[in-house]
């Protein structure tokens, strides 16, 4: 990095004399302008003044163009162009595709889980039906004393309910496995997100190098930019000072406002 700074400075030393007038030239030109003004020669005064202004502006532009070229060269010397091009041209669009994929993985897993919840509610209703059936059978038990053959019918009924309950149990077991398996998205999405985090660190590093190379240095981080008007802050993330309120804070705030 130091080499680049030196190379910029070295070029600055080689620079042709700037086109901005120096002190002596200023004095001469200003004297001309003053004598034209004192001689009441308005057109000469205007012409000389314009010349001076133009000379000064041209000098500034020449220097600015030179600086821009040098900066561009310095960045090129460091292969930043290539590195940034790779980051901006390939890796960032890639990261966007990866993150879209993470969103999809999470969404698919959530739907799968919710589907199982819906199915399981149905199973739960059937289970409640079985309990009701057993209640009905219990009510019929006293009749067995009067007519022992009824015991056989009730035994058959109990067997039917048992069968239904076993079936429900087996289906619930499958449900639990499906829910557990649906969580595997977390492993994949975690890996993808970690890669994107690594990319963000790379970009951060490249930008810091660029700042140093341009002689700006890395200053203390600017305070977090306030969320632009109309832009929402999104979910509060633990560990980030985003000023997000908890439900309790929100309740207290609303209570203050008369809710």
């Amino acid at each position: 990095m130091a080499a680049v700074v030196v190379s910029i400075n070295a070029r600055a030393a080689d620079r042709e004399p700037p086109a901005i007038p120096d002190r002596a030239e200023y004095i001469d030109r200003l004297r001309d302008i003053l004598s034209a003004l004192e001689a009441d020669d308005q057109s000469l005064f205007e012409a000389r003044l314009n010349q001076l202004v133009r000379a000064r502006e041209e000098g500034l532009f020449v220097n600015l163009a030179k600086l821009t070229r040098e900066l561009h060269q310095a960045v090129k010397d460091l292969n930043f162009d290539e590195k940034l091009q790779q980051l901006a041209g390939n890796e960032i669009p890639d990261a966007c595709v990866r993150l879209d994929y993470v969103v999809k993985l999470g969404e698919d897993a959530a739907h799968k889980t919710l589907d199982v919840c819906d199915d399981s509610r149905g199973l739960l209703n059937r289970l409640n039906g079985c309990v009701d059936s057993l209640d009905g059978i219990r009510e019929k038990l006293p009749s067995v004393a009067a007519l022992p053959i009824k015991g056989l019918t009730l035994a058959n009924e109990i067997e039917r309910v048992e069968g239904a309950m076993r079936e429900i149990g087996a289906a619930l077991k499958v449900s639990f496995s499906t829910v557990a398996q649906a969580q595997e998205y977390q492993d994949l999405s975690g890996q993808v997100i970690r890669r994107v985090i690594a990319l963000v660190h790379n970009i951060e590093g490249a930008l810091i190098k660029l700042l140093k190379a341009t002689n700006e240095g890395v200053k203390a981080p600017a305070p977090t930019v306030a969320v632009a008007s109309g832009e929402l802050a999104g979910p509060t993330v633990p560990g980030l000072a985003s000023g997000g309120q908890s439900q309790q804070d929100a309740d207290a705030l609303l209570a203050e406002l008369g809710f």
Partner: protein, 130 residues
Amino acid sequence: MDKNLRILIVDDFSTMRRIVKNLLGDLGFTNTAEADDGKTAWPMLQAGGFDFVVTDWNMPGMTGIDLLKAIRGDDKLKGLPVLMVTAEAQRDQIIEAAKAGVNGYIIKPFTAATLKEKLDKIFARFEQAA
């Protein structure tokens, strides 16, 4: 409270709509409909028949806060209770929603108990007012 209330659930994430729908179902409210943003919700509300709105804030098309403002600005709908269920937790936003006339504010992620508590509170107020 009338469990047959017709409730419109507005959220751009279909999973969240399903979760809210299930939670409402657990609380006995099964008469629900869904919309994926304010733009979709608005004609449904205009068509009438809804007694309650549960809406997210951040949605493409038309946000929940704009939907709330549209509801409050509409002669037919202005009295409709609106519960905001959102990840937006900034103080300014909560105040903005309150000023726009929201009836309850739930911050995601939330629990079934929070949803029940806010619904009970809103219904108690409406019954008091009635």
